[in-house]
């Protein structure tokens, strides 16, 4: 009997069918379906996305998805992760046929992606700075001080205008400083990793501080210490950070580039 559908966790370069002996979402047995050089990590399922009214249960599902990818990274020295809830359905052909056809049709793309991510891990880096401190530093700018000093002996009207100038100048100096810090930090990290992606920040992890930068980096595990060293040194300059991972290389597999 044909399976209704397959939940697909990811793809590995491993040319045989195999039981993974690992439980995936909702305790399902995960195994490999092979076609050519590549195998998909799957479990049998219905053509229904995984969801739950309880957000905590959804969190558990996502963690289970990731557990399989973690295991694959260990066993196969890499994994091409698929987005959560990727379910291959049957159409005119069986779901198995569709899955194998995809592995075959996209083998060149998969090969490119595999070569890119093999043996590497993704980490997330969020960098924060203290806005007030930086603004005070920007306010100590010589040009600003000069304008401020000149305000004292001016008429009320002119003084008002100059104060406006001071305010916009402070903002300009502050923004330039922020951009300079971003560039400096980005360049430092870029030099220590294979690839780097700037993330749009959807979530702040430290509400009292301002987010300077959110990055995803692709790095060989043995080189992670270099990132940690850069981050430690940045602390001395007043930055703080979150380093999260290792993750499967989610940010480096999109569109089969």
């Amino acid at each position: 009997m044909f399976n209704n559908a397959f939940y697909v966790y990811g793809v590995v370069k491993f040319g045989v069918n195999l039981e993974l002996n690992e439980e995936g979402l909702t305790g399902k047995d995960v195994y490999l379906i092979n076609n050519g050089k590549f195998s998909a990590l799957v479990h049998d399922c219905e053509e229904t996305p995984y969801t739950d009214k309880d957000p905590e249960k959804i969190k558990e599902l996502i963690i289970a998805h990731n557990k399989i990818l973690d295991r694959a990274m260990e066993d196969f020295d890499g994994v091409i992760p698929l987005s959560f809830n990727t379910i291959i359905k049957k159409g005119k052909s069986s779901a198995r046929f569709n899955l194998k056809k995809w592995l075959s049709d996209d083998k060149e793309k998969l090969e490119n992606v595999w070569n890119r991510v093999k043996g590497k891990r993704e980490y997330g880096i969020r960098v924060y700075y203290e806005k007030d401190k930086l603004f005070q530093e920007a306010s100590a700018n010589k040009e600003i001080k000069k304008i401020e000093a000149s305000i004292e002996d001016k008429t009320r009207g002119l003084s008002y205008l100059l104060q406006g100038n001071v305010k916009s100048k402070k903002q300009e100096v502050f923004q330039n400083k922020v951009n300079e810090l971003k560039k400096e930090f980005y360049e430092k990290i870029k030099g220590a990793v294979e690839e780097i992606v700037i993330n749009p920040s959807r979530i702040s992890l430290e509400e009292e501080k301002d987010s300077l930068l959110s990055l995803s980096v692709l790095v060989e595990e043995k080189k992670v210490y270099q990132i940690k060293e850069i981050l430690e040194k940045s602390k001395e300059k007043g930055f703080s950070f979150h380093l999260a991972g290792p993750f499967a290389p989610y940010s480096f597999v999109e569109n089969g580039k």
Partner: protein, 82 residues
């Protein structure tokens, strides 16, 4: 992956928004299931309770931050061109 709250927020963000996306004719389209989308937003909100955000505050903050990052992305493009 480290099983702490920070790591889980980062993981959820990636698992939902990144990774290989297959063509729609092969897969069940999750976007067609409104309940799922709503619950996933709640899942993200719930892991942020450690930050003592209300859901609305969170959404407002997220919008602001996204704008900031867009600004930086533009400046980053300029950097690359330079």
């Amino acid at each position: 992956m480290e099983n702490n709250e920070t790591g889980i927020v980062e993981l959820i963000d990636r698992a939902l928004n990144k990774g290989v996306i297959l063509s729609a004719d092969l897969v069940i389209t999750v976007a067609d299931v409104p309940l799922l989308a709503a619950n996933l937003k709640l899942a993200l909100a719930s892991v942020e309770t450690m930050l003592k955000f209300g859901v609305m505050e969170d959404l407002l903050k997220a919008t602001t931050l996204e704008k900031k990052e867009e600004d930086f992305l533009i400046s980053e493009e300029i950097l690359v061109k330079e």
